[in-house]
Structures are given as structure tokens and as C-alpha cells.
């Protein structure tokens, strides 16, 4: 009989296909796991609503659960329960090591242009906070582009949402 712990452990092998260094568990998108009579119900929230990785992650989670010999039911929950604050400390460190600056903590209010232009954003390569915003948008919905003035390295900064 499959246990919830086994399911959580298996989901640690499911990576975000757009950022293969981080698992869906570290990303904080798995909200709940429930096992009942060999059926595994997983509640899963998208990061960004238009994220093309959504279906891939959903299918990969179902595969992992089938490999445990259980019947998966992966439900996509479209509520407001995910924010970048749900990324685990381990996940943040994995992002940084791969050259993605982890998101800054979320404030009480939505981010403002002036904050993106003048707040301290740390370069994931050299640690300098002397970085500037190049583009609010980047290669995927979840990232902005910044440039480090100290080591002159462009880098991808996770948006805080």
C-alpha cells in the first residue's frame, strides 16, 4: 500500500521542465497529497497560468504515481494559493547555483516599477547587489532579465508574484 510519504518522495523526482534544477516539491506547487484505497489525489497549482510546463508536470507526476503502483488523480487548482514565497529554501539555493536569481520575498502590496529599478537584487554569480533591470520579461513568464554591473554578467531574475 502506497503511503503519502512515498508519494511526496516520488514527486521530488519530477522537475520543472523549464528549470530542470528544481522539483515540483521545491517549487511549492504541490499543495496536498491524499491516498485512499490505492488512489492518489494530488492538488497542484500552476506557477503562472499560461505556463506551458503545466501539462508536462502534471503528466510526469501521474507517471511517478503509477510507478508506485497507484492510480493518480492530479487536480489542477486555479486558486491563489501559490506565490513565489512557497519555493523552499533548498529550492532557492538550487536556483541560485544554476544561475537563476531566486525571487525576493513578497511585500504586502504588488511590486512597483520603482522597486524593480532601485531595490537590491543580488547577482547569482558574484553576489553583488549592483545590478540593473534590463527587461521586466524574459525567456519564460516567471523571469526578468537583469545585468550585473560588478561581474558584467547578464542573469535571469525570478519575478516575485
Amino acid at each position: 500500500m502506497v503511503t503519502e510519504d512515498q508519494v511526496w518522495q516520488a514527486l521530488r523526482d519530477v522537475e520543472d521542465p523549464e528549470i530542470p534544477v528544481i522539483s515540483v516539491v521545491d517549487l511549492g506547487v504541490v499543495r496536498n497529497v491524499r491516498v485512499r484505497n490505492g488512489h492518489v489525489h494530488v492538488e497542484f497549482t500552476p506557477t503562472f497560468l499560461g505556463c506551458p510546463a503545466l501539462e508536462v508536470m502534471r503528466e510526469r507526476m501521474a507517471e511517478e504515481i503509477r510507478a508506485l503502483g497507484a492510480e493518480p488523480d492530479v487536480e489542477v487548482v486555479l486558486d491563489d494559493s501559490w506565490s513565489t514565497d512557497r519555493i523552499t529554501p533548498a529550492g532557492r539555493e538550487k536556483l541560485r547555483q544554476a544561475g537563476f536569481a531566486p525571487p525576493t520575498p513578497r511585500n504586502a502590496t504588488a511590486p512597483k516599477l520603482v522597486q524593480l529599478q532601485s531595490d537590491a537584487f543580488r547577482c547569482p554569480y558574484c553576489g553583488s547587489t549592483d545590478t540593473r533591470l534590463d527587461n521586466i520579461f524574459g525567456p519564460t513568464a516567471c523571469r526578468s532579465l537583469r545585468h550585473c554591473e560588478t561581474c558584467r554578467q547578464p542573469f535571469e531574475q525570478f519575478k516575485t508574484i
Partner: protein
Amino acid sequence: MTERARALLEYADDELILGWRDSEWTGVAPFLEEDVAFSSISQNEVGHARALYEIAARELGTTADELAFDRKPDEYRSAPLVEFRRMDWAATIARHVLYEAADEIRVEALKDSGDEEVAGLAAKMDREEAYHRIHAQMWEERLRGEPRFQAALDELWPAAVAVLPEELRPELAARTGRDLPSNSLLLAHERGSHAEEWPALWEEMTEVRRSVPGAAW
């Protein structure tokens, strides 16, 4: 159709069609950063449309794809503002600035609504929309002194007002410092009427599903 389904379809149609229009800048925006920005904004808007269609589809006993691609042209509830095809940067930014201002008011109202499912989705959408608003603000500041941009704002203003239901319009006028247009000026821009570019856009959007009914991708 219930009031709820109708409101969801209006919102979903706006986001799908604006996403489509914004994606027309992919590859041909004035510079690379804006290719990336408009492509990313489009992707978000289409993602919002899908989520809104899914809620509406459950109520109407259909699917998001059927709502997005299998309706007749006059069944779409989009505001004409999002249908215009203006491959002109000043007009594109003017629409972006006005749409985001109207959309902020709409999404705030939904977040406060008693409909838990819709309010939750609206709050999630709003996290992403915050970055669209920042982008619009950045361009508004950059183009503020440009006569072409100001002319485009004036021209598109009545269509922007018509994005919102009547009770939310005074708030948009207050936030943008503009006067509400007369009813006769608004008439051509109200939902139910469509921009002259709409039939061609509908042909393009629905071409695959009309050629291969039920196609998924």
C-alpha cells in the same frame, strides 16, 4: 446563459483576443526586449483566458477549447478595443496603457466578489497583471511627450471605457484623469458590436478547428 457565465466569457474573450493581437509583435517589435515582453504578456493573457473559459465551460457543459474556437463570430463577447489591429507602436502602447488601467479595476472588483472560485482566480491573475501594469507604466512615461501617443490615447479612450461594465466606468475616468465619453460616442464600442478587423481575426483564430473539428494542440 447566467450572468456569471456571460461575465466570464466577456473577460476570457478580451484576454484571448488581446493575447492574440499582442503576439503579432513577436519578431517585429521595435527592439528585441519588446519582442520578448509582448510575447510573454500574450502568453499570460492567453493563460488567463484558458482559466476563465474553464470555469465558464463547467457551468455551460462544454470545454475551454470549444468556447475559445468553436463559436460563431457574433457569439464572441469581446470589447472592440482588443480587436483593433494597429501595427503602430504608439497605438499599441496606448491600448496597452488603457487596457491595463481598465483591467486593474475589473480584476479588483472580481477579487472582492463573493464568488470564491472567481475571486481566487482573479487574485492569481492579478499577481501576473502587476507586471503588465509596470510595463505599461514604463512605456507611458517614455512616450508621454509624443503627440502620436497622445492622439492614440484620445482616439482609443471611448473603446477603453467600454471594456468595463457601467458601474466601474467612473473609476476609470477618475484614475486616468479623463472625462467619460457621451453615450453616442460609446455606442460603437460597446460589447456586441465588433471592430471592422474582427471577421478576419476570427477566420484566422478558428481556421484550424474549422478545418479539423475537435483538433487539440
